[in-house]
Symmetry: C3
Subunit: 318 residues, 3 copies
């Protein structure tokens, strides 16, 4: 594995889950692996869980960490080729990626979708730019179209809480006051289809994710039907992919309430966080035993640590 | 000690001073205590001394440190229960505190008074919210109503410089162009009353600190009378508690000048810093041997280290 | 060496180059030297290469690093003496420098020219203020008038790529949409004159650097004449020193194109980065084998490490 760019970089989801479970029992077992290796964290967007859990994972491996918030501490980058750079951007990604590669052993990057230009976002201008020009492994800390560290976390969490061999897993859209990227939903849908689960996505019409990721067979537009007998409900808002970046629906009845959970098979409720209470999920649900969002967030550390271990082993051994 | 929230968490001020003095002689003596332990630093406000001295203290103990500036690197938190979170805040403290607790062993937080809502500030919405929901020890790096790391530093500093058994210690208000919180004055007044000193507070009428903290007997409205025979003058501006957050007085004659110090018993001048020269204290005083503000700032490291050691020993031993 | 403020602090450029080359072969050779020593990095301006390479250098030496972005995480400092500080600045450099000296072993500072006040800039108000009041070594990470870590890097890079005993080195001004400081050009010109090279500076009239630094004999106003037979072309924009901070020339024909390089002796092209492509240097040049800007940036780590080693050895041994 050269980079961890998407869930497609996971060769065996079940093996990775099993390795992450081992690692969770003994996080310090490989504290020599990262010695004298440096992880660079580049943030083009805010971050809490990813910022702290990825650092924690690196520390567990004995790595050094250098954090850079690109906006604020740095300057605007240019991503297009051939531009006459007489406007806002001071540096081209060609130089930035090559240079940073010389100071770090692994480079983790967060760069959200802009939701302004579908092509730029779905071509992964920023992450693919770094992958193209960097000479070290790139770790995706949420890009325009995916959040594979979160998806690996989610797979670990479903495994941790599943009570039956083949649970029903529902990804449910929920309302939100702001237009959000599809990244988390994309990566969760992609990994869910590789798990031994019955996977259903439910959302209002117009919120279909990219065809290649979900496929028509998994969509149920009636949320009540979708939630019936669910063992896991993964709640997440996203903006429209078709009418790119638009909010098409504000119907608060899509909000996850106790009544909706009552109709499931005592489903466990998941969310990547941050979650807006009483907009996306009700207090009554989040404060009940149905919610496993805190345990889910805890698994972020071990997902990140597993990926860092694999990147170190594959790329950074002398 | 579960948390270090206020000076009330100090069981014996004299013992702590003595332990801090030992530690100052050999800061690396406990460099194994914090091994594989992680201190999270959360800043909701700017910081220089606290930021650097608390990190340094953690490094002296062999701890890892992760710093997060909540504004800028993160997003707005919601602190009230039951809110429909469809406005600015993206995450509730319930989730934030529980999640961060899983990535760190101790969590240090700075969250100043807003000076807009006395109840919110004096109920310590932010710090008490974290204490309520976090599962790890919380260390106060200045909250709405108190700055107990500073107060412990101040006690250590008075002990270091006191020339007589029972010195006279005066906390003097001074003018300032901006409305400042009462936190430093509150914590200093609280700890000063537990020291073997004669403690007097002087300020213009209307600047009384919260009753429970100071008590009428310690107030002297005439600054000249208060300063007479003082061995230590602790200078600090704060805004009105009664007319909450207001600036009631701009009389520059409250400024600490050489003339005022001349009327004391060769008093040592203290200030928590940053200090506005020639507004709060004159150049002539700060640049004289009367001033011990630099030595005082040095003690910040050892106050923080002592508190971290105690939190580690009480909460983080396997 | 008490501080590394300018290239004048380098006692022997050739020895330093040779030491840096040794260190580059084995960056971890002195990983115990910085043990229990703390490097503070203070940024008054954005930084990418300097931020990361200086941290990396410190990590190679086993040092702890504390980073502080003064704007954003801190507050405005006052640098003038005797000011009544009732305006924007909350803290005087006298206190800041003395206090930070107590938390760190070496303090690295970036503070660009404001380009508003020539005297303030060329008196190095910020860096010289820290040097005056700090009690620990100060490392210049680019100040108003110089960037000596860059210049040392540049000397190492010329040595690495020189094919003849006495190469011709040309510092060429190039256009830029923003007014930039003279710091990089100043330090490069200063160090180039201490190398065994034929050194020429070329720029439009009005862009003369400070007399003491370059001297009239090295200036050639005709860029084509200057570039003829050049072995190295160091490209950099700067604003006018005489008409301080002004942009006097926007003639794009000064841009470094393949045609211009064709007229040299297959010159290697250098730039401190970030570089605006197709404004300062053309894509065709940067993407050709002529460009050594990436290798040059790599040497930043070893220049910083060499300087840190020297500061540690001279100042921080118990």
């Amino acid at each position: 594995m050269k980079n961890y760019f998407s869930v497609n970089d996971i060769d065996s989801v079940s093996n990775w889950i099993s390795e992450a479970n081992d690692l969770k029992k003994n996080p310090g077992a490989h504290s020599e692996l990262g010695k004298n290796k440096t992880l660079g964290l580049l943030f083009f967007n805010p971050s809490l869980r990813t910022r702290l859990s990825t650092q924690k994972a690196a520390l567990n491996l004995g790595m050094n960490v250098m954090v850079m918030n690109f906006t604020g501490e740095g300057w605007a980058l240019e991503f297009d080729d051939g531009t006459v750079m007489d406007q806002g951007a001071s540096e081209h990604i060609k130089e930035a990626a090559q240079v940073i590669s010389q100071y770090c052993d692994i480079l983790a990057i967060r760069a959200f979708a802009t939701l302004e230009n579908k092509d730029d976002d779905y071509n992964e201008k920023v992450l693919k730019g770094f992958i193209k020009y960097a000479s070290i492994p790139i770790l995706n800390m949420e890009s325009a179209t995916g959040h594979p560290l979160q998806a690996l976390t989610d797979a670990i969490t479903i495994n941790q809480f599943q009570a039956k061999k083949r649970p029903k897993v529902v990804l449910s859209w929920a309302p939100h006051p702001k237009a959000l990227p599809q990244a988390v939903a994309n990566s969760f849908a992609a990994i869910a289809q590789r798990l031994e689960v019955d996977f259903v996505v439910t959302h209002p019409k117009g919120y279909e994710l990219q065809d290649e990721i979900v496929g028509a067979s998994n969509i149920e537009y009636d949320q009540d039907k979708a939630l019936k007998d669910a063992d896991f409900v993964y709640v997440k808002n996203w903006s429209s992919y078709q009418q790119y970046g638009k909010i098409l629906e504000t119907d608060m009845s899509w909000r996850i309430s106790q009544e909706k959970i009552a109709a499931t098979n005592k489903a466990k409720v998941m969310h990547c966080l941050p979650v807006r209470r009483n907009v996306v999920i009700d207090d009554a649900v989040l404060d009940s035993e149905s919610s496993i969002v805190i345990e889910q967030a805890n698994n972020r550390t071990f997902a990140a640590q597993l990926v860092l271990q694999k990147l170190l082993k594959a790329n950074c051994q002398e």
